[in-house]
Symmetry: C2
Subunit: 258 residues, 2 copies
């Protein structure tokens, strides 16, 4: 790929190869305090009108460069997590395209119901491990190649994410966790102060789809004030596509003391 | 206001006063072919997660600088149009804050039902005129100070926008029309190839509100291919707030030949 990107911000502007966007990030950032949970980054693509799916699928919104930035972010992550709804919507991979010099990130699917189409929809990288994140109460479920991580059930019937993230760090050594949606999982993390950064690709598209198709990057109730004012860290431009990186200001690390 | 803005794009970056964003636009742009309709620009503010309203109201999303850019865009417009839903949602003005050296833009409310809370919700500038845009079939409605422009009824029961825009140009001399929402009116214009530019303020907020509150800048069906790939014209940054200007590529000027 010979396409050029311009880092517009921070100044001064700098031209780089489009394939290098987010390649040299330091994650977690230097000086981060010891934490009981992984450093959590969320990566999403949306249209200019804020939509994250075309006909329920996200795959067609971003460009090849967006796909490459996703790969670069995955290369910094020990694990890549999605919600089961996102896997139900389309066939996808949570792997590195080029696994030559890296171990594959652990693939994690958060599921409340156990209805996870692993066989049909999850494309696994070579030697990539899969972890299903269940609320503890869920009865046994045939997981095939996947292992299971059982965390407590949170108030909404979903997995208790505070406990789950602590277990991912303590038991699986996940220090950087990349979350790739969907909107409900993103919201659950941000609203609980469990997300550190948001990478948003603003694709030069207007989708205009109606309410039933109008999923945005966050779906849930209003957010508490302290998580609702992200700080812009960088802006890259390739063609008409913008790559935005935000620090999500949370209420600090929530430590599960139960 | 002494706040600084940085124009990040086009390059090279340039620092300007925040209050000057969009102040010196040439609208309509030079070289535009003769047209039977006004040059239509849409101005919206959304959160990073694509939402355009907090509790149904847009007013609290953008910053003071966003308000100023809105004023600057209004100063380029002969008329400012909104849909009646937007006026029903909150008390607002379509006027210039400082009318000293300008005639006020004509305020236009597009309404299908005639249910327009002019008295309670529309704050009028001094000597500002108001025009209600009706589908022709609507029975008489007490308009008070407002005049009425009767256009044909389009397929959905809303005003035929092609005809309405031609009448605005021919009968009211509107050469630049600023549209400030809501999402349904924006969508109706863009989907018919009647919008030329989109100004989007991306406010550094995460709202996360649920489906019922999740209005994005466009609400309607999927857009035709040719209107769905906007071209980025400029990017300004003030603090963490991005001001994006897009050219909307439409199928060309649609002329009503009936």
């Amino acid at each position: 790929m010979t396409e050029k990107a311009t880092r517009l911000y921070p100044l001064p502007p700098r031209e780089i190869a489009a394939e290098s966007i987010y390649e040299d990030l330091e994650l977690p950032p230097a000086g981060r305090a010891d934490s009981h949970r992984p450093y959590v980054i969320i990566n999403m693509v949306s249209s200019v009108d804020g939509k994250t799916a075309i006909g329920g699928k996200a795959a067609r919104i971003g460009s090849q460069t967006d796909r490459r930035t996703m790969q670069n972010l995955r290369s910094h992550a020990d694990a890549v997590m999605i919600g089961a709804n996102t896997l139900r919507a389309e066939k996808l991979s949570l792997a590195l395209d080029d696994p030559s010099d890296k171990p594959q990130p652990l693939a994690i699917i958060a599921t409340r119901t156990g209805d996870v189409p692993l066989e049909s929809n999850l494309i696994l990288g070579e030697e990539q491990e899969v972890l299903l994140l269940f609320p503890r109460e869920l009865p046994g479920y045939p997981c095939g190649r996947a292992r299971r991580l059982l965390a407590s059930e949170g108030p909404s019937g979903h997995v208790d994410l505070v406990e789950a993230l602590e277990m991912l760090k303590a038991e699986y050594g996940v220090d950087v966790l990349l979350v790739e949606g969907g909107p409900t999982l993103n919201h659950a993390l941000i609203s609980r102060g469990l997300a550190d950064e948001l990478f948003l690709t603003l694709a030069p598209k207007l989708l205009g789809s109606g309410i039933s198709e109008s999923r945005t990057i966050l779906d849930g109730g209003p957010l508490p004030q302290e998580t609702s004012t992200p700080v812009l860290l960088s802006v890259h431009l390739v063609g008409d596509e913008l790559f935005l990186r935000y620090k999500v200001e949370g209420p600090g690390i929530m430590h599960n003391t139960t």
